[in-house]
């Protein structure tokens, strides 16, 4: 561990571990981390090399009468610590070199991709003749909105410039040539801006006969729909054979319940019948009169 210091990328979960030092009776960070790098077991070594720890260890051994040989295992002498430091420096350098390599690789990959894109752009430009680059680029549409990227590059004729991430608003500027199909000249007829009658409400062209047929058949169709829904309901439900067309008289509801009456129920019923017959007679009389007048 001392000879080969190991430097790795910092990972929060793992590298924040603490260890408990019995002698000093406190928790110490196991690994040393700074920024994005961590020295494995750096904290442990650092602590064990410190003077404070040495004193505490001596105390501990004296109090607990432990074997002196073991004590050495729990301490790290300054020379050892120096050795560790030098190996650490070497490890850091090696790590930096590796990082640089990775970055160079990524850069070269990006350059390759850019190259291939440029070649494709040139291939597109060669067959094109007219100024309608919109059509060409739309036929050649690669991922998403790169249409606008190509049109901008052809317009400005930039060579190796890397315009891969153009702002999204450019899609509109590239396509602002909406196809113009001519002024709609409708003299005398009017249009939506003048508030003329909309074409779908104009009924001049429709045949009169067809309109007649459509009316009732649609209603029939709706009725048929309702009937089909009724058929789906269980046939022995309550009221399935209810005759909706039967007439009802006044007596079907027990609506003769007087509130402030004393006496028997049949009396209130008798009263109700008497009153309703009176009303019927008076209604008949009023109806008869106009009839007689007509005659």
């Amino acid at each position: 561990m001392i000879k080969n210091a190991v430097v790795v990328k910092y990972e929060a979960g793992e590298h924040d571990q603490l260890f408990w030092c019995l002698c000093c009776k406190r928790e110490v960070k196991r690994h040393l981390s700074h920024g994005s790098l961590t020295v494995l077991h750096g904290g442990l070594l650092q602590h064990m090399a410190s003077l404070e720890h040495k004193k505490e260890a001596n105390k501990f051994w004296w109090e607990n009468k432990a074997e002196a040989k073991l004590k050495q295992q729990f301490l790290i002498s300054p020379e050892d610590y120096e050795r560790f430091k030098s190996s650490l420096v070497k490890a850091l350098d090696a790590y930096e070199e590796k990082e640089d390599e990775v970055i160079k690789e990524m850069a070269s990959h990006i350059r390759e991709v850019e190259q291939s894109r440029q070649e494709m752009v040139h291939a597109v430009l060669e067959p094109q003749t007219g100024t309608e680059f919109c059509d060409e680029s739309s036929a050649f549409s690669t991922p998403g909105g790169h249409k606008s990227d190509i049109t901008i590059i052809t317009e400005e004729q930039l060579g190796p410039s890397v315009i891969q991430i153009t702002p999204d608003l450019d899609w509109m500027e590239g396509n602002h040539a909406l196809t113009f199909i001519g002024h709609q000249e409708s003299e005398g007829k009017g249009n939506v801006h003048t508030g003329a009658k909309p074409p779908w409400l104009l009924q001049d062209e429709e045949e009169f006969g067809s309109k007649q047929q459509i009316g009732p058949s649609y209603e029939e169709f709706l009725k048929e729909k309702e009937k089909q829904k009724l058929k789906k309901l269980p046939a022995d439900r309550v009221g399935a054979n209810f005759d909706h067309t039967s007439q009802t008289g006044e007596g079907w509801l027990p609506s003769f319940g007087r509130v402030w009456n004393h006496g028997r129920r049949w009396q209130s019923r008798h009263q109700f019948k008497a009153e309703s017959s009176q009303e019927r007679d008076s209604q008949r009389k009023t109806r008869k009169r106009p009839k007689s007048e007509l005659q």
């Binding site: 396509n175 709609q184 074409p199």
Partner: protein, 149 residues
């Protein structure tokens, strides 16, 4: 893309659609199937039509086949999209000079979905003109030329 959406080819069919689509926003795209901006718009319409099926019905109309409607709506730029609800023409203020139709394509599917939702809610509340939720910089710019109106 345009073969995924239903098309209307005569004035009668358009009338029928306007009168019969009930309780849903009717979207009529006026344009030509091979125009590049129309293709873009048709792509967005096709992709969203299933998700919006409960709120909207989308149809494509070729401007050459229905000259009556092309003249009535004063369609000079294609694509133009007109919205109806229960037979009533819905106007939307997009920040552009013409509120009767949407000219051009939408930038994202979400813009179109938001617009349909706003139109639907406005129509449910009885509004005949609604405010577009689309960011004005995402609305295509064009010059509106009045012809002696």
């Amino acid at each position: 893309m345009s073969f995924l959406l239903p098309k209307l080819t005569s004035k009668k069919e358009v009338d029928q659609a306007i009168k019969s689509v009930a309780e849903k926003v009717l979207v009529l795209r006026f344009g030509k199937d091979d125009d590049p901006v129309c293709l873009q718009l048709d792509d967005i319409l096709a992709k969203t039509s299933h998700d919006l099926s409960k709120m909207a019905a989308i149809y494509l109309v070729d401007v050459n086949k229905v000259p009556v409607y092309t003249q009535y709506f004063d369609i000079s730029y294609i694509p133009s999209t007109v919205f109806f609800f229960n037979g009533q023409h819905m106007k939307v203020d997009y920040g552009s000079p013409d509120h009767t139709k949407f000219v051009g394509s939408f930038k994202t599917k979400q813009d179109f979905i938001d617009l349909i939702e706003v139109i639907y809610r406005g129509a449910m509340r009885g509004k005949l003109i609604v405010q577009s939720p689309i960011d004005p910089k995402n609305v295509p710019k064009y010059d509106l030329l009045y012809q002696g109106i």
